[in-house]
């Protein structure tokens, strides 16, 4: 019986969507920015703001669309479902305006990308161990 209960709990937790506070927004350690609003982060990932205050070019990196963290990030930061964002990027690409950010399939790939790009910004699961080459920015409303 206990095993059945544990199995149910594990299944429940796996199916649970990633919720607020379950991701950390990270930037390159050399970036002077320490906090950002949700709106700022959204503009950076939509490439509506393309440079940091220092003049460094912004390099956003997304997680792959199938990742639960991507759905949560899109929902909380962009405040839109993923399908709306997919159409937004298709329109940007077909009009030649821009292309969507690179996508990585794991937290470690995102960390490596941000660490290697001075203007990098990404998001990883809360609790992920971070190297000195990246840092967390605090989010405000």
């Amino acid at each position: 019986m206990r095993r059945v209960c544990i199995a149910w709990m594990v299944t429940f937790l796996i199916c649970l969507p990633v919720s607020a506070g379950d991701f950390l927004v990270i930037v390159n350690a050399g970036n002077g920015v320490t906090s950002l609003s949700h709106r700022d982060v959204s503009k950076l990932f939509l490439k509506k703001q393309t440079t940091w205050p220092s003049g460094v070019v912004v390099s956003p990196v997304d997680q792959v669309e199938s990742a639960a963290i991507r759905v949560a990030f899109t929902d909380q930061i962009h405040k839109r479902p993923l399908t709306v964002l997919q159409k937004y990027w298709l329109k940007q690409a077909f009009s030649g305006t821009s292309v969507k950010p690179d996508e990585k399939s794991s937290d470690s790939d995102v960390i490596n990308y941000v660490a290697e790009n001075k203007g990098g910004i990404g998001y990883v699961s809360a609790g992920t161990e971070l190297p000195d080459t990246v840092k967390v920015v605090t989010l405000s409303d």
């Binding site: 959204s42 503009k43 509506k48 703001q49 393309t50 440079t51 003049g55 460094v56 070019v57 390099s59 962009h78 405040k79 839109r80 479902p81 399908t83 709306v84 997919q86 159409k87 937004y88 298709l90 329109k91 690409a93 077909f94 009009s95 030649g96 292309v99 969507k100 690179d102 290697e116 790009n117």
Partner: protein, 419 residues
């Protein structure tokens, strides 16, 4: 209308100049990583089936109906390449192919970005004009199959491309203000002192929840068409039988997304002050199979023989069109379903039916050049890259004084590739 156009263009130009003078350079001297410089290659394949039933035609004063055989359009595709060379320079190429037999550079431009308020694009550019022009090649992206009537290839209100475009945007608290100002060579032969100018100003609320704007164009003086009579439909707004045409276009558009519902509406008016070419009109009257109402339009004395002295050369007319569209996105486990409704109205009192002679077989089939088209359709996307669309339309217009209509069905499958 020309007076309004001058004012609007002046305001848009002032906005651009302000950005040029006051806006700070973005990312001066900043180099991009190799990853950021990578060439992006993407596009789509598409194929279509369409069939028309019981299309009315006037034969010897009587309306007869005929059904054309169903027609497959073999795969056509767009292949797009976009590369950012530095923070300030990028290029975009859009190669368009039909039936895998012919290739055409639909778009090819380079862009210099001074800052967000001032970007300069040079080459062959889709002008920013209403909701659709920049996206017209991307059929998989929008919820219907067909473009709005103002960009139907048979009866364009304006040429789709331009050669020089200044554009920029200004971020506001609740959205983005975007402008564009375009200059080009115009439609065809033009006078030395004519300067064709186009503009677009739009406000996009956050996350594209709503877009509202106006676009316009002025030929800047007299111009002629890019095609002669007998060379098919023009690539712009000047009909092939015009010796000279001065025209201005103004329109407004709106798109709103409310949860899963998307609504679109546009209204356009093109005012033409034109002079018909006598020889071209005589060719039309003799060879193009005109309706009686069209013959009356072109000749001073319709019952008299077609002769140079009988041609009515001066003409002022307005081409007008509007549409409303609605699509509802319903997400399921097996993909996205989007039922949609569209209602188009179009009026061109100058055109004729025969496409070989530069007419169009929708407005030109009607006594008065007016028709409506109601469409109901369904788009299914099993994944974001694939779209299968089916729609049914009914054209309605007046022919020989009687209301007539005919149905049409279209099926379209498209697949987006690359990234």
């Amino acid at each position: 209308m020309a007076c309004y156009m001058r004012w609007i263009v002046a305001v848009v130009a002032l906005f651009a100049a302000t950005g040029l003078l006051l806006g700070k350079d973005g990312g001066v001297g900043e180099t991009l990583s190799e990853l950021q410089k990578k060439l992006h290659i993407y596009g789509y394949f598409s194929t279509r089936y369409e069939k028309v039933w019981d299309e009315p035609e006037l034969v010897d004063g009587l309306i007869q109906e005929s059904s054309a055989p169903g027609e497959f359009t073999f795969p056509f595709f767009s292949l797009m390449l976009q590369q950012q060379f530095s923070h300030k320079f990028k290029v975009f190429i859009n190669i368009h192919g039909d039936d895998f037999e012919s290739l055409d550079i639909a778009n090819g431009w380079g862009e210099y970005s001074r800052n967000r308020m001032v970007n300069i694009r040079v080459g062959k550019i889709y002008r920013t004009f209403g909701l659709y022009n920049e996206l017209l090649d991307a059929v998989p992206v929008y919820f219907g199959i067909e473009p709005p009537e103002l960009f139907d290839g048979d009866h364009l209100l304006i040429s789709r491309t331009t050669n020089l475009m200044f554009w920029g945007s200004l971020e506001r608290e609740n959205g983005t203000l975007r402008y564009s100002l375009t200059l080009d060579d115009g439609e065809g032969d033009r006078d030395d002192d004519t300067v064709p100018i186009g503009f677009d100003v739009r406000y996009t609320f956050n996350f594209d929840s709503q877009v509202i704007g106006i676009s316009g164009y002025t030929s800047g003086g007299e111009t002629a068409g890019d095609r002669g009579v007998g060379e098919g439909s023009p690539d712009g707004g000047v009909l092939p039988w015009m010796a000279a045409d001065e025209f201005h276009i103004l329109g407004a558009f709106w798109e709103g997304t409310f949860n899963n519902l998307t609504l679109q509406a546009e209204y356009w008016r093109a005012s033409h002050d034109a002079v018909r070419d006598v020889d071209a009109v005589l060719t039309l009257v003799q060879d193009a199979g005109l309706l009686p109402s069209q013959r009356e339009r072109f000749l001073l004395f319709p019952n008299a023989p077609a002769a140079p002295a009988n041609v009515r050369t001066e003409t002022d007319f307005d081409v007008k069109t509007w549409y409303i569209r609605a699509g509802y996105s319903h997400l399921t486990q097996i993909g996205e379903w989007v039922p949609y409704l569209q209602w188009d109205w179009y009026s061109n009192p100058e055109t004729i039916k025969n496409k070989t002679y530069g007419g169009d077989n929708e407005a030109g089939a009607a006594d008065d050049g007016e028709f409506t088209k109601g469409t109901v359709g369904l788009a299914y996307r099993p994944n974001p890259s694939t779209a299968i669309k089916v729609d049914f339309s009914a054209h309605r217009y007046t022919l020989n004084g009687k209301e007539v209509d005919y149905p049409e069905v279209r099926v379209d499958c498209s697949f987006i590739f690359g990234k």
